[in-house]
């Protein structure tokens, strides 16, 4: 009697373990509830900044506090959703003078590794594909917070930023002043644990 119960419990527990481990780690980025932002900041003539964002994207990540090195993230961005709050400028940025969205409508990021560097800190490495060119990038990221939300889900939120040299992605900025040759990318999102 006792044996049988123990066996059943053990079997049930064994069956649950892989499932609960997977559940603990996998998150979908909450773009539906719009708790996710991809923004860029680029100099204008060296005098000030143009700020803009990419509004349509989706992604997921794995994050397990017990196994940080196994963390990963992937994002897919609809580049045509770029906006800097100026219709004609955005049309120009998306034209073949710069991002050529007609030919390269999607930008992607797929992580290749994660290295924890401190409490709630780490460096995410991965391949960024933009304008049809794929380059390895490093992005320092910070865990901003995690916990249960008021609606029955579990959330974890991060932010990270990195600087891209536009020439690396085949985007010719040579006719513009030096400060405009690179841009700062800032990403922050909340994921909902699956």
């Amino acid at each position: 009697m006792f044996k049988k119960t123990a066996l059943t419990t053990a079997l049930a527990a064994a069956a649950l373990v892989p499932l609960s481990q997977a559940q603990a780690a996998d998150y979908v980025i909450d773009t539906e509830g719009q708790h996710a932002f991809i923004q860029f900041k680029i100099s204008h003539l060296g005098y000030s900044y143009i700020l803009g964002s990419l509004e349509e994207f989706s992604g997921e990540f794995s994050y397990d506090p017990e196994n940080l090195a196994a963390s990963s993230a992937s994002l897919e961005v609809d580049v045509s959703s770029l906006t800097s709050n100026h219709a004609e400028r955005d049309k120009h940025i998306k034209s073949d003078d710069f991002l050529n969205v007609a030919e390269y409508p999607t930008a992607r990021f797929a992580s290749t590794g994660f290295e924890p560097t401190g409490e709630d800190q780490g460096v995410l490495t991965g391949d960024l594909t933009l304008h049809g060119e794929t380059r390895a990038i490093e992005m320092p990221v910070t865990l901003l917070g995690e916990g249960e939300d008021p609606w029955g889900n579990y959330r974890a939120g991060f932010e990270g930023s990195t600087t891209l040299t536009l020439a690396d992605y085949g985007i010719d900025m040579s006719s513009f002043p030096e400060p405009m040759h690179e841009l700062e990318l800032y990403v922050t999102f909340e994921g909902i644990r699956q």
Binding site: S80, T83, N85, D90, K91, K94, S175
Partner: protein
């Protein structure tokens, strides 16, 4: 003199026709030139300002022109049945392309909800905005509609010359002078 009859164009139609011809060719050349300007060119911001301002005025004039065309009689078309049908379709095409090029241009600048300032005097509000990739798509339509309009307008001009020199008809002359309005011929 001001109004049309079934034998000739009145002054208002003649004026609207040549004003449109000048405006559309001018806007086409201006648009082509300005989109190739270097970022550091002094006209980089000013040329589009003129293009937008003039375009909005031409849109208003074109709507008025279409209204005038509908409420006024039109001079009879010369030629056989097929030639008259071709002429009619050509004219409908010209009006359609004029509207398309004007509206698509308007949809570029208003794509993110901002209105279009006209010579800094007043602003045409944005009515349709935030459609997916609106500015780029409207821009593509704007370019091809403008190209098609220039092509069809060139055909229109050639046809007018053909009527004048080959057929010896008054088709071209009656778009130059309103005296055919009362012609008894």
């Amino acid at each position: 003199m001001w109004r049309n009859s079934t034998t000739g164009w009145g002054l208002i139609s003649i004026l609207l026709h040549w004003l449109s011809a000048l405006a559309f060719v001018g806007l086409f050349v201006l648009g082509w030139w300005m989109t190739g300007l270097d970022y550091y060119d002094g006209w980089y911001n000013l040329a589009p300002w003129w293009h937008r301002s003039l375009g909005m005025l031409v849109l208003a004039v074109t709507l008025a022109r279409l209204a005038w065309r509908f409420i006024q009689p039109s001079p009879a078309l010369p030629g056989g049945r097929l030639e008259r049908l071709a002429a009619h379709l050509g004219h409908v095409g010209l009006y359609a392309l004029m509207l398309l090029v004007l509206v698509s241009g308007y949809l570029i600048s208003t794509a993110e909800g901002d209105g279009i300032g006209v010579f800094g005097l007043f602003e045409v509000p944005a009515l349709i905005s935030d459609l997916p990739d609106q500015a780029s798509l409207a821009g593509m339509v704007h370019w091809y509609a403008a190209l098609a309009l220039m092509g069809l307008a060139a055909g229109h001009a050639l046809a007018a010359l053909k009527h004048h020199w080959r057929d010896r008809q008054d088709t071209l002359v009656r778009m130059l002078s309103s005296r055919h309005v009362h012609s008894r011929r």
